[in-house]
């Protein structure tokens, strides 16, 4: 059973075909890298997988289940989590409250209007555990507005990991990071256990190459090359459309 399977997925915005007959099969535990130049349709593909955009045709299967018509808000409950390329966090809250919201999202407790979150020690402990995994536990109570860009990237990942996903979609987790920050995030990603399948988008091929087992190259919404790391790097088409020389 594949962890994530995409079959003949198509999406057009007016006359612009951003995703054309994309097929993608990711095995459980696999580390998949999706690369492609600007405007290749990488983030659109993520939005189609998470259901934030509705595909014109084609299907998406998560762990063997057809989720094409499942609303996007239900998909985290089925084991899918994502991060955003443009950091999308709750800027007025503390780091730990951000992660708490991620935990509550999958719990029936999220509808409770008559209990106080800060007294729910079990919940707060779990949030701290998730922050431990990305190495941010020591600054858990810091307001998000007082954190660095790299720390925010790790909060994004902590929120996704807190939901115990089966399939984790990382959208350019290294974008805009300094070399030190990038190393911290790389360590965080590398430490994610193998029961989590990871699909990562990365614009900059160099930083993510050692992470990937298989690589898919997108160009103008089409899959151009797919294969192991060595195959894709060696392919002349990769050099042509992506590396540009």
């Amino acid at each position: 059973m594949t962890a994530l399977s995409i079959n003949k997925l198509c999406k057009a915005f007016g006359g612009l075909r951003v995703t054309t007959e994309v097929n993608l099969n990711v095995e459980p535990g696999e580390r998949r890298l999706i690369i492609g130049p600007n405007g290749a349709g990488k983030t659109t593909l993520f939005n189609l997988i998470t259901g934030e955009l509705t595909p014109d045709s084609g299907s998406v299967h998560l762990l063997g289940q057809d989720i094409t018509s499942v609303p996007s808000r239900r998909r985290p409950h089925l084991g899918m989590a994502r991060t955003y390329q443009i950091i999308t966090l709750f800027a007025r809250d503390t780091i730990v409250r951000n992660v708490t919201l991620a935990l509550l999202g999958l719990s029936k407790e999220r509808w409770n209007p008559l209990s106080v979150i800060d007294r729910n020690t079990e919940l707060i402990d779990r949030a701290h555990d998730a922050l431990q995994r990305v190495g941010l536990r020591h600054i858990a109570d810091r307001p998000l507005s007082q954190t660095s860009y790299g720390e925010r990237r790790r909060v994004e990942i902590a929120m996704a990991l807190a939901q115990n996903p089966k399939v984790l979609l990382l959208d350019e987790p290294y974008a805009g990071l300094s070399i030190d920050e990038r190393r911290d995030v790389q360590e965080t990603v590398r430490a994610i256990p193998r029961d989590v399948t990871i699909v990562m988008i990365e614009h900059n091929m160099d930083v993510a190459l050692d992470f990937a087992e298989r690589i898919t190259l997108l160009h103008f919404g089409k899959v151009i090359v797919e294969g192991t790391r060595a195959e894709v790097v060696a392919d002349p088409q990769t050099r042509e459309v992506y590396l540009g020389h």
């Binding site: 239900r74 999308t88 209007p113």
Partner: protein, 328 residues
């Protein structure tokens, strides 16, 4: 005992003994008004402050409840039945309003709530067989639960105070609850909330209902206070007034709407006795608030207070450092 507990205790004692130190019945009645308008503003603040949804139709909901209670009473029904009936009618209307208005957010939400509020106002004026049109509906008596007659200013004040305190506690718990956090989340990052597994629309819908419930409670207190309801209560001016209470006091704070309600009610009722152009004064106050503390009176005062202390602390440390310097 820290400053916060002390301030709470002082406020509690002041409110509890208010009829004994207020100079007259008139002022006790004004205090009752402050309290039920504060409940109204707390209800609107759930949407405006915590949900990021600005409503300009809340006076319509407030009016529907008041009209429903007055109409049921004029049919000869008892107070309990009238109150429960009014709450049911009001929540039903809130649900319909929310379902219509939540098709949009931002400006769209404001315009739909504005339109719905105006429809209620129009119906109140023109559906004369039901509302009495311009003449409104009179409410002959106030209730007397367990023999405690609410006819007097003091007894009405105390019962309003009890309802007010319950409302404050409910809202205080709500904003710290998982659901309250979810509502604030949909205000700040609706897309992320959806991706985290939350049903953004449903969260907003339930928030509308809670806001409507508090509005309805305030509406019932209002109709028993004035013992009269007319279309003016449901007008756009009334919606704008309660919105100004929230914005002036400080949206997304617990104390803000209460302070805002006190400000508006006092200027409208008390200051208007001394200054003929009290509307001008109220306008000037709002302009001053917007310029000096755009975040609202309560957060603004806290900010100025902290800045003041910090400045004072800095001056002191400079003085101390200066005196510690060895003299040449």
């Amino acid at each position: 005992m820290n400053g916060r507990t002390l301030a709470l205790a002082v406020a509690f004692v002041a409110l509890g003994t208010l009829p004994y130190w207020m100079p007259g019945i008139y002022y006790i009645n004004v205090s009752s008004q402050v309290l039920f308008y504060a409940i109204f503003a707390l209800g609107l603040n759930i949407l405006v402050g915590y949900g990021g949804l600005v409503s300009l139709g809340h006076a319509g909901l407030f009016g529907i409840t008041a009209y429903a209670a007055a109409y049921l009473l004029s049919m000869g029904l008892g107070h309990t039945t009238a109150i429960i009936g009014a709450l049911i009618v009001s929540l039903g209307c809130t649900a319909v309003f929310a379902a219509l208005a939540l098709r949009a957010t931002g400006i769209g939400f404001i315009m739909i709530t504005l339109a719905l509020g105006q429809i209620i106002w129009g119906l109140a004026y023109r559906w004369i067989s039901l509302t009495g049109g311009d003449n409104g509906i009179n409410v002959k008596t106030r209730p007397a639960p367990f023999g405690y007659d609410l006819g007097g200013a003091n007894t009405f004040y105390y019962s309003t105070l009890v309802v007010f305190l319950v409302a404050v506690v409910v809202v205080a718990i709500f904003v710290r609850s998982p659901f309250g956090a979810a509502l604030k989340g949909t205000r700040d990052q609706p897309r992320r909330m959806n991706a985290l597994g939350y049903h953004v629309w449903a969260i907003r819908f339930w928030a509308c209902l809670l806001s409507g419930l508090l509005t309805a409670v305030a509406g019932i207190l209002f109709v028993y206070y004035t013992q009269f309801i007319s279309p003016q209560t449901t007008s756009l001016t009334a919606s704008a007034e309660v919105l100004l209470m929230v914005i002036a006091g400080g949206p997304a704070t617990l104390l803000g709407p209460i302070v805002g309600a006190a400000l508006v009610v006092v200027v409208k009722n008390v200051v208007s006795g001394y200054i003929e152009r009290w509307n001008f004064l109220l306008g000037a106050i709002f302009v001053a608030i917007v310029i000096l503390m755009p975040e609202g009176l309560v957060p603004g005062t806290v900010r100025l207070w902290r800045q003041g202390w910090r400045a004072l602390g800095r001056r002191r440390s400079i003085v101390i450092a200066g005196s510690a310097e060895p003299k040449p």
